[in-house]
Amino acid sequence: MKYIIAIIKPFKLDEVREALSGLGVQGLTVSEVKGFGRQKGQTEIYRGAEYAVSFLPKIKIEIAVSDDLAEKVADAIRMAANTGKIGDGKIFISELAQVVRIRTGEADDAAL
């Protein structure tokens, strides 16, 4: 199994989720993060001063998938989250040793 972490732009979340549902992904976990990267930070005005906000709001999606689905999932995310503009984000894929469904105790692929 693979553990996929994707950092995307916040307003792309709904599109990504739909794309993944289309692939049969049954679950995923989302959190709000702040990203630092090539994308130039916004500038906030504060009493006439300007503050560069170096951290940008991003969404982190975590999905555990079976090995054979991993590639498709990564592709789907890339398609759905792409705007072509800097700051679109990254996808990180690593090995996942074991999965357990808390409710039933089912393990690995059956637990996804």
């Binding site: 906030e44 005005i45 006439g48 300007e50 560069a52 906000v53």
Partner: protein
């Protein structure tokens, strides 16, 4: 100018001396306040003044508390509210016991231009039916109305020290500052029979000098003594929740009707005119600050609009019972631009860390307003003409009043800040500052 500068020099030295002298003197003096003419109680005036008192208290808690709390980082929100709240509680007690009597009784002898006497110590002799001399309202109501001014002034100046001042030291400072700066300046300006500036003919309807210049200058002195916030200029100090700041500014605006129109001490046409010019100046200043920022920074910020409104409110304060609608509009227009510069250009130019711009808005706006009062005063409204009606001298008198206030306030505030800094320490430790004052000083945090 020569005469004036002599007066000022004299005062600079007098300030510290008198401030230490009055205690003994005042305590020895127990004669009653000057006998007043005999107006009778007017229940309508009283109704309006009761209301105004509530409105001005609303300005500090929760108005100012929120205005300031909205501009700090999340870890300091509660501590910032506590500064306003704690000052409110403390000054209430101090004012009742000794502040009021020293500010608003006539006083005796050499100190009487600066301080009152002790005849109202613990509000002694202020019965249910006692009227404030020369007014149609109970003295209790006048005392309360003035208390709300005494509360907001130190609460305003803390803005300059935000995010780094110790709560304990602030309480000690407030005690000293109330009695040695606020009280004498209020007496000088508003004690009609004996006050120094009142006799000079300085116009200050609702506290341009007493409240705003005073708070602004003390704030500036304070932020110079206490030093810059850790991370100033390198870290992002963006306000955590400007919604709070805008609620606060809104409540300041609404409450200011009590501040300015209430300063008429009666519910008549002058109060109505004071309310009118207050509103016009505030709207105009908010518009100009927005406009300037829009032009310079490309976007009109919410904090800018709020700051503009406060700038207008500050600047119209001394003028409110003296000028007409057009004067009010112009004062607002000017204040919006000048205070924008005060809170941005001036501050960055000189490089001090006036965190929430007590000086940039209240100091600069107060000075602007006090001067323009001398320009736009209309005889038919407040009984005194300004420059536009040919009374050029008034502008000089206003300048004198401003200078006396600045000098007295700066000198005594500086001494107070320094003494506290050397003894108990004015500033939290670096760790506390990083951890946030909410937790380090009050043991509480905002959880969501």
């Amino acid at each position: 100018m020569h005469k004036m500068s002599r007066k000022i020099t004299a005062l600079a030295s007098t300030a510290a001396v008198t401030a230490t002298l009055w205690c003994g003197q005042a305590l020895a003096q127990t004669a009653p306040a000057a006998p007043a003419p005999a107006p009778t109680l007017d229940k309508a005036d009283t109704a309006w003044m009761l209301t105004s008192t509530a409105l001005v208290l609303l300005m500090t808690i929760p108005g100012l508390a929120l205005f300031y709390a909205g501009m700090v980082r999340k870890k300091n929100i509660l501590a910032t509210i506590m500064q306003s709240f704690g000052i409110t509680a403390l000054v209430t007690v101090l004012w009742g016991i000794i502040g009021y009597t020293l500010a608003f009784t006539d006083g005796h002898g050499a100190t009487s231009p600066f301080f009152g006497d002790m005849s109202r110590f613990f509000l002694a002799g202020m019965g249910k039916d006692t009227l404030f001399p020369g007014s149609t309202i109970p003295e209790s109501v006048f005392m309360m109305f003035q208390m709300t001014f005494a509360i907001i002034t130190p609460a305003l100046l803390v803005g300059s020290l935000a995010d780094r001042v110790k709560f304990s030291s602030l309480m000690v400072f407030t005690t000293g500052w109330l009695l040695l700066v606020y009280v004498p300046i209020a007496h000088m300006v508003w004690a009609t029979n004996t006050g120094l500036l009142a006799k000079w003919g300085v116009l200050d309807f609702a506290g341009g000098t007493v409240v705003h210049i005073n708070a602004g200058v003390a704030g500036l002195v304070g932020c110079l003594v206490v030093g810059k916030r850790k991370g100033f200029g390198t870290e992002n100090f963006a306000p955590a929740n400007l919604a709070y700041a805008l609620i606060g500014a809104s409540l300041l605006w609404v409450g200011w009707f009590g501040f300015n129109a209430g300063s008429a001490l009666t519910s008549d046409g002058r109060a109505g005119m004071a309310m009118t010019v207050t509103q016009l100046a505030t709207g105009a200043a908010a518009c100009t600050w927005m406009a300037v920022e829009w032009i310079i920074r490309k976007k009109p910020s919410a904090l800018g609009a709020a700051s503009g409104a406060v700038a207008g409110l500050v600047a119209i304060t001394p003028a409110s019972g003296f000028v007409g609608p057009t004067g009010g509009l112009i004062i607002g227009l000017v204040a919006g631009v000048v205070c924008f510069w005060g809170a941005t250009g001036l501050k960055h130019m000189l490089g001090y860390d006036d965190s929430l711009d007590s000086f940039g808005v209240h100091g600069v706006g107060g000075i602007t307003g006090a001067l323009l009062t001398g320009v736009f005063a209309v005889k038919g409204i407040g009984g005194t003409s300004g420059v536009l009606e040919g009374n050029f001298a008034q502008l000089g008198i206003q300048a004198e009043g401003i200078l006396v206030t600045i000098v007295w306030c700066a000198v005594v505030s500086f001494i107070l800040f320094k003494v506290i800094d050397k003894t108990m320490g004015l500033r939290v430790t670096a760790e506390q500052e990083v951890e946030g004052l909410d937790y380090s000083l009050h043991g509480e945090i905002i959880h969501d």
